[in-house]
């Protein structure tokens, strides 16, 4: 039996591990174009800041591939034939055709660039996804004095803006929509996040479109906004989302839309082809796209298990995101953004933040907060189990609520 995994990110690696855990004999091959074995990609921020060294980014213990007898191949998969179960891999400039018994597409996506930049090769425009990106940003920042422009108000955008600001750079965050962090963020929370950034010296421009750009040589020097203002800058980091890699899936005739369609068991529309991670879309779930670290790992594991014949199911609910921005905790859980009248919202403003719970039919279905003492796992447990707590959910908003209590619910 030959298991082929395209992509050595967290989903791919987790799948490989799961396959090996269940079967010590089969052949497992991971094909990855970067050649880097799995790194903690979210920790690239810490790397950029100089808090951790390159070795510490490594997501796997040394000798992992040898121990687990997993073959790691540096190469690019250029075509997939799901009828003949064949893939073509380009290694060192040479094409090789390989066959598989089970295939996992875990090749993620690539970061988008704002359309107004076209396909010019500009030396001070960066993306922030790979170790290579982090290296280039790092070396540019050494000499950079002027304004750092961060484009995109999503998770990556706000995290990058916070990071640069903490590194004492002059940062402006530009978002084309009125949302920050996530779509559907409660208005008052959004205002708090905005205030927090402004308090820390980050300018935030929302609902602004770029109408023109200014270039000098091979450098981008300014953005012209729809209000006529010119924003001069020294560098730009584009955090404008990720587009899944769909070429192979399209070629093989897999069902695709904004990603590769998978069912709850991570099977695609073709037999023996699975997909997991950033490249998939869950068209059966209210959370269709979950391009976050933890669900990708879980998806990978479930795909791996099911490739060996199991029938495990991926549950995207409740998805969540949690981070610190300027040392203030910020978290989003489950259906924090669901509109509608049959949802009760319990909110509380505090000195340093805002908290909101979303309750439906006496069940906690979502929460968002800033500040306080959060502890995501028990919250998630409460949402998933549908259990109530004695004294009502409102207590969850209290500063001195004993979160440990939930473990026994």
């Amino acid at each position: 039996m030959k298991y082929m995994i395209i992509g050595g990110g967290c989903a791919g690696i987790e799948a490989a591990r799961e396959i090996r855990r269940r079967d010590s004999e089969v052949k497992i091959i991971i094909i990855d174009d970067s050649g880097d074995s799995f790194i903690f990609r979210p920790a690239l921020k810490e790397y950029l800041m100089g808090a951790i060294r390159k070795e510490e980014l490594r997501g796997l213990p040394a000798g992992f591939f040898i121990d687990k007898r997993i073959e790691f191949l540096k190469g690019t998969v250029t075509s997939l034939d799901a009828d003949k179960t064949l893939i073509t891999v380009k290694e060192n400039g040479k094409d090789t055709v390989k066959n598989y018994d089970k295939l996992l597409l875990a090749h993620g996506g690539r970061p988008n660039l704002p359309p107004y930049l076209g396909d010019r090769d500009l030396k001070n425009v960066f993306q922030f996804k790979s170790l290579g990106d982090a290296e280039s940003i790092k070396s540019h920042l050494k000499t950079s004095k002027g304004r750092c422009m961060v484009i995109g108000g999503g998770v990556l955008g706000v995290e990058t803006a916070e990071l640069l600001s903490r590194m004492d750079h002059n940062v402006t965050l530009l978002s084309r929509s009125e949302n920050l962090v996530f779509r559907g963020i409660p208005k008052r929370l959004r205002q708090r996040v905005r205030n927090l950034f402004e308090k820390n010296g980050v300018a935030i421009l929302m609902c602004k479109m770029v109408t023109d750009i200014e270039i000098s040589g091979d450098r981008l020097t300014g953005l012209v906004l729809d209000d006529g203002n010119l924003l001069e800058m020294d560098m730009l980091i584009a955090c404008t989302g990720i587009s899944p890699n769909l070429n192979l899936a399209a070629e093989a005739g897999l069902e695709i839309s904004k990603g590769i369609h998978v069912d709850r068991t991570m099977r695609t529309s073709r037999e023996n082809v699975f997909a997991a991670g950033d490249c998939v879309v869950l068209d059966w779930s209210s959370r269709k796209i979950l391009r976050l670290w933890e669900p990708s790992r879980r998806m990978g594991r479930i795909a791996g298990a099911n490739m060996t014949g199991a029938n495990e199911v991926f549950d995207p609910y409740p998805s969540f995101y949690h981070t610190y921005l300027f040392d203030v905790p910020l978290g989003f859980f489950g259906d924090f953004d669901t509109p509608g009248e049959d949802y009760d919202r319990v909110t509380r403003k505090t000195d340093d933040g805002y908290r909101e719970l979303v309750i439906k039919n006496n069940r906690l279905v979502g929460a968002s907060f800033m500040g306080g003492r959060p502890s995501p796992p028990p919250f998630l447990h409460l949402m998933k189990s549908g259990k109530k707590i004695r004294g009502g959910f409102r207590q969850l908003l209290d500063d001195d609520f004993d979160i440990e209590r939930l473990w026994y619910q």
Binding site: F40, L57, L60, R373, P376, P377, D399
Partner: protein
């Protein structure tokens, strides 16, 4: 636990902030190695075995995690995995502490208790007996009944306040947290269940303790058995009677050593602060509240750098004040007498001194 731990491994984004915050000795540990060692079926490499036994379960790694993962539980799970090979120091520690000892170990426990009873005759009636008379307050010192100075002080203050109280103490009333902290989950659970039954015999309205570990056990018992009584630290209880205490100024200023459990874990750091403000002026150290450092007790001396770390902490305190107050008996006992340059006090000493001072004036 297993389920939560594997969930937390998935959450980990490898930012290393937990290891940055960790105060104990660790050699060449990467997050990748640590996560791998935490998984239920994997082997634990030697450097992680050492680190896990050095871990004091102070929880300093928890509030710094951007993904909200519980590194403390993850390392505790490693301790659980390694419980068959735990070091002698760990074993020695729980040899006489337990509510359900049998055979030779029970004999040892009884011998020790008899020795303590003879040594501290005034406290002997509280060592190992379970009160059954209904009284509003239950003072639960557990194993620290064997720290007579602190017990006498607490009793003096409780007598002064005047609310009727029972005392539940002794090695055979151990709260189970020592077992939990060395990875003996089943023993911990059993001890907590037995303690629950012992507390219930006197149906208290409030249970008070001065030990952070006992406090944690009480909170866990309350959550599990849904008990009605309130749980307070001794300081919190005394503060509810603050008006009875004389208003005297005791020292120019005092700094506070926060407890890992009472302050960081349960967010109950206000009471010791208010207590200090009653009699003196509070000066905060930089590593206070959530950032507090440990007393390095709960690795049972496995980490050779414990004393060095404690001295570092006392140095930090010395930079702020001539007096360091501890709210938890465990912290107090680990810091007192370690450094001549700073006075370390149990926070209850302030209440006691205030009484003595006023008594003297009269």
């Amino acid at each position: 636990m297993r389920k939560w731990v594997s969930h937390d491994i998935d959450l980990c984004i490898g930012c290393n902030r937990c290891m940055e915050a960790c105060p104990v000795t660790k050699k060449h540990i990467t997050i990748a190695d640590l996560n791998m060692a935490t998984e239920p079926e994997t082997e634990v490499p030697q450097n992680i075995i050492d680190f896990s036994f050095n871990c004091v379960q102070c929880g300093r790694c928890v509030p710094v995690c951007p993904a909200g993962a519980r590194r403390d539980y993850m390392v505790l799970f490693i301790k659980y995995k390694l419980r068959a090979q735990k070091p002698g120091k760990y074993d020695k520690y729980i040899q006489i502490k337990d509510q359900d000892k049998r055979g030779f170990e029970l004999m040892k426990q009884k011998l020790y208790t008899t020795y303590m009873k003879l040594k501290h005759r005034d406290l002997r009636q509280y060592m190992g007996s379970v009160p059954s008379e209904n009284k509003e307050i239950l003072f639960y010192p557990g194993c620290y009944i064997n720290s007579p100075e602190v017990i006498r002080r607490t009793m003096k203050l409780l007598n002064f306040v005047g609310t009727p109280y029972n005392i539940l103490g002794g090695l055979n009333t151990c709260c189970g947290i020592p077992h939990l902290l060395i990875g003996e989950f089943e023993l911990a659970e059993k001890n907590m269940d037995l303690l629950h039954a012992k507390i219930n015999r006197s149906t208290p309205k409030i249970v008070i303790t001065g030990c952070a570990e006992c406090f944690e056990a009480l909170v866990r018992i309350k959550a599990k058995h849904k008990t009605e009584y309130d749980i307070l630290t001794v300081t919190e209880f005394l503060l509810t009677h603050r008006d009875k205490f004389p208003k005297v100024r005791l020292r120019p200023n005092i700094t506070l050593h926060d407890s890992c459990r009472i302050t960081r874990r349960y967010n109950r750091g206000e009471a010791p602060r208010k207590a200090i403000e009653m009699f003196s002026k509070l000066v905060e150290m930089e590593n206070s509240r959530e950032k507090t450092l440990c007393c390095y007790y709960w690795n049972m001396g496995h980490d050779g750098a414990n004393d060095k770390n404690r001295k570092k902490r006392l140095n930090e305190a010395r930079g702020k004040s001539k007096t360091l107050a501890c709210d938890c008996i465990t912290c107090y006992e680990k810091y007192v007498g370690l450094d001549d340059g700073i006075e370390v006090i149990d926070i209850l000493e302030l209440f006691e001194e205030a009484l003595d001072k006023e008594g003297g004036a009269r």
